[in-house]
Symmetry: C2
Subunit: 226 residues, 2 copies
């Protein structure tokens, strides 16, 4: 695997795109880019990186194998592009859900439901599986992924709790530990079951129920923690 987490070689900064529009010649088909990433995600996350053949991805994307190599240059680089796309969408989701609402419980539930819907999505479960393997082989990547993924997620929740504590809405020793506890209660045993393919992905209702129960337990825990 590669040692970097960088974008594909051909990717241009959004602003530079205007400066270097079409130096002449046939323009790239933007749909192909998406098609490749989509197919790569599906294949990579299903069979694992090592077991995935570039040619299969090409075929699945309706694209020539050479096109993939021209655009991404490498198998590891293609994989990193897929991972980056996924983590970006997670960041977007976390920003989108500002955890607004009337009381604390409602706010937490909103945050938790959005988060679990993302974490328990088959695509994400698969990615975590594959990525864990990859990170074990390349320790350098682990911290970088963790920072933009689970770490960011915990910190954001921790911030929500911290604010609530300042407003006197709950008592809390350490917002960071609190966030970890809340996340653990939300995910619970189901997390393991999804990862091991014992259960099929949950629907909205099941997620809402999990989150509600978890939030309730967490708040009960805080009341007694003063």
């Amino acid at each position: 695997m590669s040692e970097k987490f960088s974008p594909p070689v051909d990717e241009q900064p959004p602003e530079a795109a205007a400066k270097t529009p079409h130096p002449g010649g046939r323009p790239r088909d933007p749909e192909k880019h998406q098609a490749i990433l989509q197919a790569a995600r599906k294949i990579f996350f299903t069979k694992g990186v090592a077991a995935s053949a570039i040619e299969e991805i090409a075929q699945h994307a309706g694209v020539s194998k050479v096109t993939i190599y021209n655009r991404f240059g490498d198998k590891p680089t293609l994989f990193e592009a897929v991972v980056k796309e996924q983590t970006d969408s997670m960041s977007e989701m976390l920003i989108g859900k500002k955890a607004e609402g009337a009381d604390l419980k409602t706010r937490l539930n909103g945050f938790g439901e959005a988060l679990l819907a993302f974490l328990f999505h088959p695509d994400h479960v698969s990615m975590e599986r594959i990525l864990a393997q990859d990170l074990a082989e390349h320790p350098g990547l682990a911290d970088r992924f963790f920072a933009v993924g689970p770490g960011q997620c915990r910190d954001r929740l921790s911030h929500v709790l911290s604010e609530a504590a300042q407003r006197g809405e709950l008592t809390l020793d350490d917002p960071r530990d609190g966030a970890e506890d809340l996340l653990s209660l939300w995910k619970g045993f189901a997390d393991l079951e999804f990862r091991l393919s014992v259960r099929s992905p949950p629907d909205k209702a099941e997620i809402a129920e999990r989150v509600a129960l978890g939030t309730e337990k967490f708040l009960r825990l805080c009341e007694k923690a003063d």
Copy 2:
């Protein structure tokens, strides 16, 4: 991968071993069997099944490649043998720790420490990583592994809690849910960090601290749950 979870073809029932001792000919070297499994575990759990070469395992075990094929016949079968060995040792551990002790907290802590020491061991973390990938491809295996692994673990803890509830040592709606909560609090965020190779495995002291904190929170939760 293979579709079954059965022992290697050559394995004999323990009793039959006396009946069919040595029909003549050179006896098998029992040390080689262990050496192969040990090497296979190391290689499989480090690089993944697909990326592991039988020849490397053979070399690492100080054994000829043909010997492996003669004994296990197949790569998937070898992998299954390794997994079986691991789950067996987990069952042993769970039976060994009967969760005995003076008060409930001590008993739970004893159980939790033994369990986490096993779950957070690098070998087990690696196996769960690799296995998750394999189970995703072969759903039939998932339930069978879950039953002898995490499922058994949860049920055993659930039983401990249930008994305690009957003795009036704690109040509990559903021992099964309680067990899941307690497990979640014990594992916490650290579980994810180990799986993603962000943190190195914990020592006894760290485990004991995690477990103590988790147990405390859980018991606090139960007191308020009546």
